[in-house]
């Protein structure tokens, strides 16, 4: 009996959480992304979410591109497929690794900071204070962050694609002995617009997930410093898992033909 009671409690808690996330999404879209628009807030958030994430996303992409080139070269040499390095690096980065790794890095960096900031604002009553100053917190806090996520993640991933492919190119030409011209030519011959676009679509979805989870957990944090810490952890963990799950779903949708 105890087991059943516990199971029931877990299921109920899960359903409550899902329900409250869905309601939050509704408020975020209906209230947060409709006028009044706070231009300055949106601009600030684009800088914070996008521009400040460039170094970490760029470095991740660079090293991943390089490591990918090495792996494919070593693995491919078992069946004389070393020549595929440039193509696989380009496809792997643009379709999968670029958006996923950038998404995860931004989740760690931005998702956590959004949850911590809004969580602190919640427990110190700053969010209530916004309301009493006739400012809708969804419009002032949530909308700009989500908008910034959806706008900047594709840009970040576009840059990550370029840097990642460049990482592969540097390793390929400097240490694996590829001819520079041939490497670039085979990359541009085989890489299609769809490959890049599919990655950018993924990125926009990931941007939505990261900022939404950051805002949701921040908004619902309670109980002082510990509560804010918990909100931060939950924001990062839930957005990381949702990114990986959404990546699978999007991959099967985008490449289903």
């Amino acid at each position: 009996m105890n087991f059943l009671a516990n199971l029931g409690r877990v299921v109920l808690a899960l359903l409550t959480e899902i329900g409250s996330i869905v309601l939050f999404i509704k408020d975020a879209l209906v209230q947060g992304l409709t006028p009044t628009i706070y231009g300055r807030q949106i601009f600030d958030q684009i800088l914070k979410v996008g521009y400040n994430s460039l170094p970490v996303v760029g470095l991740t992409a660079f090293f991943t591109g390089g490591a990918l080139a090495l792996q494919i070269y070593l693995g491919g040499s078992r069946f004389n497929a070393e020549s595929l390095v440039s193509t696989i690096v380009a496809l792997g980065i643009t379709r999968e690794l670029g958006p996923v790794l950038a998404g995860l890095m931004v989740a760690g960096r931005v998702g956590a900071s959004i949850a911590a900031e809004l969580g602190t604002m919640r427990v110190t009553e700053q969010i209530d204070a916004l309301t009493t100053l006739a400012t809708n917190p969804f419009k002032y806090l949530v909308g700009p962050r989500i908008l910034a996520g959806v706008i900047t993640l594709p840009i970040l991933v576009g840059i990550a694609d370029i840097i990642g492919i460049m990482g592969g190119y540097i390793v390929g030409t400097r240490s694996l002995g590829f001819n520079s011209y041939a490497y670039i030519k085979s990359t541009s011959d085989f890489l299609q617009v769809d490959d890049v676009v599919s990655g950018l679509i993924k990125a926009a979805v990931f941007g939505f997930i990261i900022t939404l989870m950051g805002c949701y957990h921040g908004f619902h944090s309670k109980g002082g410093a510990q509560g804010v810490g918990r909100a931060t952890t939950n924001a990062v963990v839930s957005s990381a898992i949702l990114i990986l799950a959404a990546n699978f779903v999007l991959t099967s949708l985008l490449f289903s033909e």
């Binding site: 706070y38 700053q126 204070a129 009493t132 006739a134």
Partner: protein
């Protein structure tokens, strides 16, 4: 009292899950009067104020301001309704990302679309009214002491000349002298604006100073109300225990039961 009620709460109830926080609150405040609600921690004081503002939605009951039902207001109507309010929060709740003057001017700039320069002038004037110079306006809230933060919070609450002001534990955490300074500022600014106010506190010195009327809340119900002077001769054992700060009496703390 034969003054007509301006703020009226009728049988307001609110529960968080199984926990009943407001158990049928009935309360009236005449226009231009100052009501102080006293009561221990966790008796529903803050929740009561938040239901009036619409931050917390009551489960049932009616809240009317100037005869207008406000519990179901939404969107633009609600924003306009909130423009009539000012609130001083317990921890001041200043926005730590903004300098002091922008905190004070926030409701003017964001809520009322006033130009920044004009809003800044008003903010500096309000800061002066609470005894803070223009140099404080440029600082960030984290650089201020607790008493100064409270004063900035007060300046923010009165910045838009509201009709109704709420004070949530205005003196908690301050030394007695600073507490009295805040009390005086509250009395002064309320008089200047002619505002209707509800304050919640457990500081009796503060209650006596700022109240026209006092109401006591216990377990989500108003158990006594009367004029500020009548509080000493209420004959109500709960009120007597509270104002004299005794551990023994009809109010038992949770710790004793556990």
């Amino acid at each position: 009292m034969d003054e007509t009620a301006y703020i009226t709460l009728k049988d307001v109830r609110k529960a968080f899950g199984p926990k009943k926080v407001l158990n049928g609150i009935n309360l009236t405040v005449p226009k231009g009067r100052s009501l102080v609600v006293i009561g221990g921690s966790g008796t529903g004081k803050s929740v009561m104020i938040k239901t009036i503002l619409g931050i917390v939605r009551p489960d049932s009951g009616s809240i009317a301001i100037g005869g207008e039902e406000v519990t179901r207001l939404k969107g633009k109507d609600r924003d306009q309704f909130l423009q009539r309010f000012g609130m001083l929060f317990q921890g001041a709740a200043l926005f730590d990302s903004l300098p002091v003057w922008e905190n004070v001017a926030f409701g003017l700039i964001q809520g009322r679309n006033m130009g920044r320069k004009q809003a800044r002038d008003i903010a500096m004037e309000k800061l002066r009214q609470v005894g803070l110079g223009p140099e404080v306006g440029e600082l960030h809230p984290a650089e201020l002491s607790g008493g100064m933060q409270k004063r900035v919070g007060l300046a923010r609450a009165i910045a838009a000349d509201p009709e109704i002001i709420f004070f949530d534990e205005p003196t908690t955490g301050l030394d007695p002298i600073m507490a009295d300074v805040i009390n005086n500022l509250i009395v002064d600014s309320v008089k200047r604006l002619g505002a209707t106010t509800i304050s919640i506190t457990h500081d009796m010195a503060s209650a006596r100073k700022i109240a026209d009327r006092i109401a006591m809340i216990h377990k989500g119900e108003i158990i006594w109300q009367g004029t500020a002077r009548a509080v000493d001769t209420s004959g109500n054992p709960y009120v007597d225990q509270f104002i004299h700060g005794r551990a023994e009496g009809p109010i038992q703390m949770e710790i004793l039961k556990a």
